[in-house]
Structures are given as structure tokens and as C-alpha cells.
Amino acid sequence: MARLIPEINSNLNLNIIKQLELKNINTVLDFLEEDPDRLCTITGLVYKNIIEIRRQILAKFSAKSKNGLECYSKMLIMTAKINTGIKKLDDLLEGGLLTGNIYEICGLTGIGKTQLCFTIASHVTSNLKQPVYYVDTKHDFSSQRILEIMRTNHLNDMEIQTAMENIKVIRVKDIYEMTTFLHSLGSMLENMPCRLIIVDSITALFTPFLNEQRNDGLGLMNHVAATMKNISMTYQTVFVTVNLATSFIDNDDMDAQTADVCWYGDIRPKMGKAWMHMPSNRLLMHRPPNGPDDQIDVTLIKSTDLPLTKKCLLKITSGGMEC
């Protein structure tokens, strides 16, 4: 709440707010920046009241401080590592996905990014018995495939039903709906605690802004990223996002010229440099050129807490991603 409203202080009635508006003082920030003496003359309130309002605004709107011990003990209680159910991947991640982080799975089209998401979602809901939010932006969530994965892993019908009730799919059309979802996610998580949110894919939301001259798309993308970070820290959840990678080198594309962002010669994540910094951990899926067709290399190429360039070999089977 940034606008001045009567709820802030009993002295701040609608009349006074009208007066302030005429002088172009609309928001709490405008109020704080204005000289108290001048506020006295505009509002007709006494100096003491103005100072009181200021103090209340500061108490209500500023960030609160916590001591280090509080933070530490909260972290000990709240953080968790969610294992993915894929042994080699868990070894690579030293236990699993760490809460409070954003992970990114990137790779070329058709490599198996969505399959990896399905496998993780199936494992978390069936074996760990935890709910999962699955944000589907490309309209390709396949519950029949989820069923196949669970059947192959020898679950009985009852278990499958409970697990599939626990995967909550949200079909999102555009980045605006995504933002709305993220802003209502807080209250959803309070009603139903959930540690894993899969976003498949973030890239599809960005396509309408590819060719725009203004930077609206970038602003929206940053807002989505910031909100995801905020939620992941406050509720200690994991976000797994899917991003496309490309090997295409376009003359207009300056990113391609800088070799330090490419892997395997020319593969690099899409969505530009700003996004490169958003996820704290990034996994690159790649099919080795000389290996068998079904083998997929998963490499950790960005991480805040784990050693880099560790890799593991996975393959897609009817039971999902396996070693």
C-alpha cells in the first residue's frame, strides 16, 4: 500500500488527504520526503501529529530487522533438500534440490526437459507424498504420461490417485497471468504448504516480447524473477524453471559472440544476459554427439553452493528419467 489512506492514522482523514493530493502528495513516500513544516500548513495539523504519522508510516512500511540467531534457527527448521528420485542427479546435487533456490533446466528442443520435470513431479508426489504446483505455459502437461511413469514404478491405483491429486496444474496463458499467479501463490502456500513449484516453461512467456523496441518484456521478466525469489525465500520452496537453449548463431545476436556463455561449443540458454543471473542453479541437458541416441548428459553449469561442471548420464524410459 503506497497511497495515503485514512487507515494509517486517525488524524489523516479524507479531507486532509484531498488537501495533500492537491499539492501532489499522493503516496507515503511523497509524505516522508516533504518538509514537516510545509505539511503542517497544507493539512492544518499540528507538528506533533505530523511526526506521529511519519513514525507510523515508517513502522508499517519499512523492512523489519531480525537478529542473526533468529535467521539461523529459522533456516535450520525451514530448509530442506528435496530429492529428485533420480539417484545420479541427486548425487550431482549433493542430496537434491535445496529450498529457497531457483533451479533452471535448459536444453535444446525435444531433449527431455519436460520429461525430467514429469519425473521429479511424480517422485515428489508419490514417494515423498508432498504436493507440487506445476505451471504449464505451453499446454503440454500430459497426465497420461505421469500415469505411465507411476505405473512403471509399481505404484498401486490408490497411491497413483492420491499422487495425481497432489499435482496441481496451472495453465498460464501469458506473463500477466503468471504474475497474477505468483502474487496469489503466497496465500495458496499458506493454505496448502508446498515445497516444489515447477514452471514449464519460462521461455514461452517471453516470446511476445522478442522484437519489441521498449523494454517492457524485460521489466516484466525481472518482476517475475524477483517475485519467485521472494516466495522461495519466504516459504522456503524450490522453483524449477525450464528454459530453452539454442545453438543458433545469428549475426544480430551479440550474446553468441561471447564464448564464455556457451557450452559444448555453441549451446547457450535463451532469454538473454539478465536472465542468466536469475536462477541460482542451472542444469544443462545435452545429447553427447557420439553417444547412444537415448543418452542425455546433465551438467551443472551454474550453482551458488555446489562445485560446477559435474555431470551425469541419464536416459528417458517409460518410468521417466533414469540412470
Binding site: 503506497a2 493530493e21 499522493n26 499446454h139 496463458k173 495458496m188
Partner: protein
């Protein structure tokens, strides 16, 4: 707090709100986004009333649905058969309604033939387990051939007559002759990408007013964009078309088939053939199949799963005969 710049509103509404100190959604809405505050209404009072009505539903969040719920919906989806059992098996019973399917392949690989067959198959009556709908064929590269369509219709019609006779079903369900099936296909010829965009809007209207349309074919999607130099704006337009068709497919339970050609891409000084329209397009379409012409004496064709979230990778062979698409 959500900045109002993140709302899908026109620039003038946003600047009007910002000027009045409405920086966040919480300043404009109360009750968790359900109601617009009276101050905000006052601020926007001299703008058209649509702005306010639009604003009321702007914070509606898509509802989460469980995978179980989606499963029950998914198994109800119907398919359009191809008249080739092996191809149907690969496609998981056929081309699914309510979804977008991409068919990529080099010239002569049988893309258009498959599409013509689908335009006929979609009209096969319900008693034979088909959808009994109509088709819209958007032709961008003049590949549509009416005589060939008539040929396929004739052959498919006699197959249906046989099937009905064998299963002792009601012959009345079938139209009197195969020409009726030609009437069920709307052919739209498109010359440029501007026309294509307009056509998509027009199709929206047709499908809304005629619920019998169950198949939309765009043959081919990449052709109108071939001369476009700015690849980014091409990708943006193509993605926008896909988004619109996606909504259309989902809301009206229509199958959308996008035909795509192959293009040469230079990777590490080597030329390789790839589906056209780039990575972003390849990423946002849920299903892609590649068609190819096999180099053997029987002149068979093959179709392979290139990308799908539900089907395993596999490929089968089929034949293009005078009768349309058939098993080898």
C-alpha cells in the same frame, strides 16, 4: 506488492494511475483484488467504461486443477484417424482434438497428402468411432489439389461403406455420396503473412459460429514468412499465431495441424536440415512429427515422433497411394 506496470493495461491508463499515486495493485484494489477502490474509480472516471469493466477481472488467477482432473479430461479427447493403422498407432489413435500438432518434413515427404487425408477423415461418421466434423484448410503455398482430394474422398467413402456393411450399421449415417465430404472443407488461400494473421482472426469467428469445424490445417505455416528478414519479428508473429490457435483449439475442441518445411542451418560449418521457424517455435509447440520419403523401391514414406510430452520416440512407414494414406 505488485506494481501496476505489470498489469496488461494500455499506457494511458497506467500513466493516469501512476500520476495519482496509484503505484501498486493494492492501491487500486481492495479485498484481495476483488473490488476496485472508490478513489481509483474516481481517478479513471473520464476514461471509457470498458477500462473499468476490464479492470474488474484483471486479477483473476487461473485455477489450479489436479493431474487426476486433467487425466479424466484427457481420456475424453477424441482423435482424427488417418486410415493407416500403423500411423494411427504412432500418433496414439490419431490427431488429437484440442491440441496443436506440427508436421515437419522435406518437400515430397507427404505432408500435404496427410493433411488432405485428415480433411476427409475428420468427416467420417460417429458410428465408425470418428468425429464427424468439418475442416478448414488454409493454403499458403498453393499445394491444395481439389482433384486429389476428390480421389481420396472417393476411396475413403468406399472404405466407410464397407466398414458399415461389415459391422451391420446404419447406412443412413453416411452422406449419399463422397462429394458431400468435399463440401465440408473450406479452402482459404493466403498470399502473405499479413493475410495469414487476418485469416486466423476470421477462423476464430467461423469456429465460434460453426461448432462442426473440428480440424484446422495450415499448409504451410512457414511459407508466408520465408521472405521476412527480421527473424525476431517473424518468431514473435509465429508464436502469437500459435498462442491464438492454442486458445481456439482448447476452447472449441478443434485439432490444429501446422505444416512446416525443412530448412538448412549451418552448425559448425556443416549444413544440416532442420524444421523451419526456429527454436522458439519448436519449443512452444507441444507435438512435432517428422515426415520423410524413404529411399527404397516401394516408395514408402515414414513418420517419426520428434517431440511429444506423452509419446515415446518411434517411427513407422506408410504409403501414399491413389486411395490416400495406407499401411505398407
Amino acid at each position: 506488492m505488485r506494481p501496476i506496470q505489470t498489469l496488461p493495461l494500455p499506457g494511458n491508463v497506467i500513466s493516469k494511475l501512476l500520476g495519482g499515486g496509484f503505484l501498486f495493485c493494492e492501491d487500486v484494489f481492495e479485498d484481495g483484488g476483488k473490488k476496485i477502490r472508490s478513489e481509483a474509480k474516481e481517478r479513471l472516471h473520464n476514461l471509457p467504461t470498458e477500462v473499468l469493466t476490464n479492470l474488474e477481472s484483471i486479477l483473476d488467477c487461473p485455477k489450479p486443477r489436479t493431474a487426476m482432473h486433467l487425466y479424466n479430461e484427457e481420456i475424453k479427447l477424441e482423435q482424427i484417424v488417418t486410415f493407416s493403422q500403423s500411423v494411427d498407432k504412432l500418433l496414439d489413435e490419431g490427431i488429437t482434438l484440442g491440441e496443436i500438432t506440427d508436421l515437419s518434413g522435406a518437400s515430397g515427404s507427404g505432408k500435404t497428402q496427410l493433411c488432405l487425408q485428415l480433411c476427409i477423415s475428420v468427416q467420417v461418421p460417429r458410428i465408425l468411432g470418428c468425429v464427424q466434423g468439418e475442416a478448414i484448410y488454409v493454403d499458403t503455398n498453393s499445394g491444395f489439389s481439389a482433384p486429389r482430394l476428390e480421389e481420396i474422398a472417393k476411396a475413403s467413402y468406399s472404405k466407410c461403406v464397407n466398414a458399415i456393411r461389415v459391422q451391420k450399421l446404419d447406412m443412413e449415417q453416411l452422406p449419399v455420396d463422397h462429394r458431400a465430404w468435399l463440401e465440408g472443407i473450406r479452402h482459404i488461400e493466403v498470399q502473405s503473412w499479413e493475410q495469414l494473421l487476418a485469416t486466423i482472426y476470421m477462423i476464430n469467428g467461423i469456429v465460434k459460429s460453426n461448432s462442426k469445424v473440428k480440424l484446422i490445417v495450415i499448409d504451410s505455416l512457414n511459407f508466408p514468412f520465408i521472405n521476412m528478414e527480421n527473424t525476431l519479428s517473424r518468431t514473435e508473429l509465429v508464436c502469437r499465431i500459435v498462442k491464438q490457435l492454442q486458445t481456439l483449439a482448447e476452447n472449441f475442441n478443434v485439432a490444429v495441424v501446422l505444416v512446416n518445411q525443412l530448412t538448412t542451418r549451418i552448425v559448425k560449418q556443416e549444413a544440416i536440415l532442420q524444421p523451419a521457424l526456429g527454436d522458439y517455435y519448436g519449443h512452444i509447440i507441444p507435438k512435432r512429427f517428422i515426415l520423410a520419403c524413404e529411399a527404397n523401391t516401394q516408395q514408402t514414406h515414414s513418420i517419426a515422433v520428434y517431440k511429444s510430452s506423452s509419446l515415446p520416440t518411434s517411427s513407422v512407414e506408410f504409403m501414399i497411394t491413389g486411395n490416400g494414406i495406407e499401411d505398407v
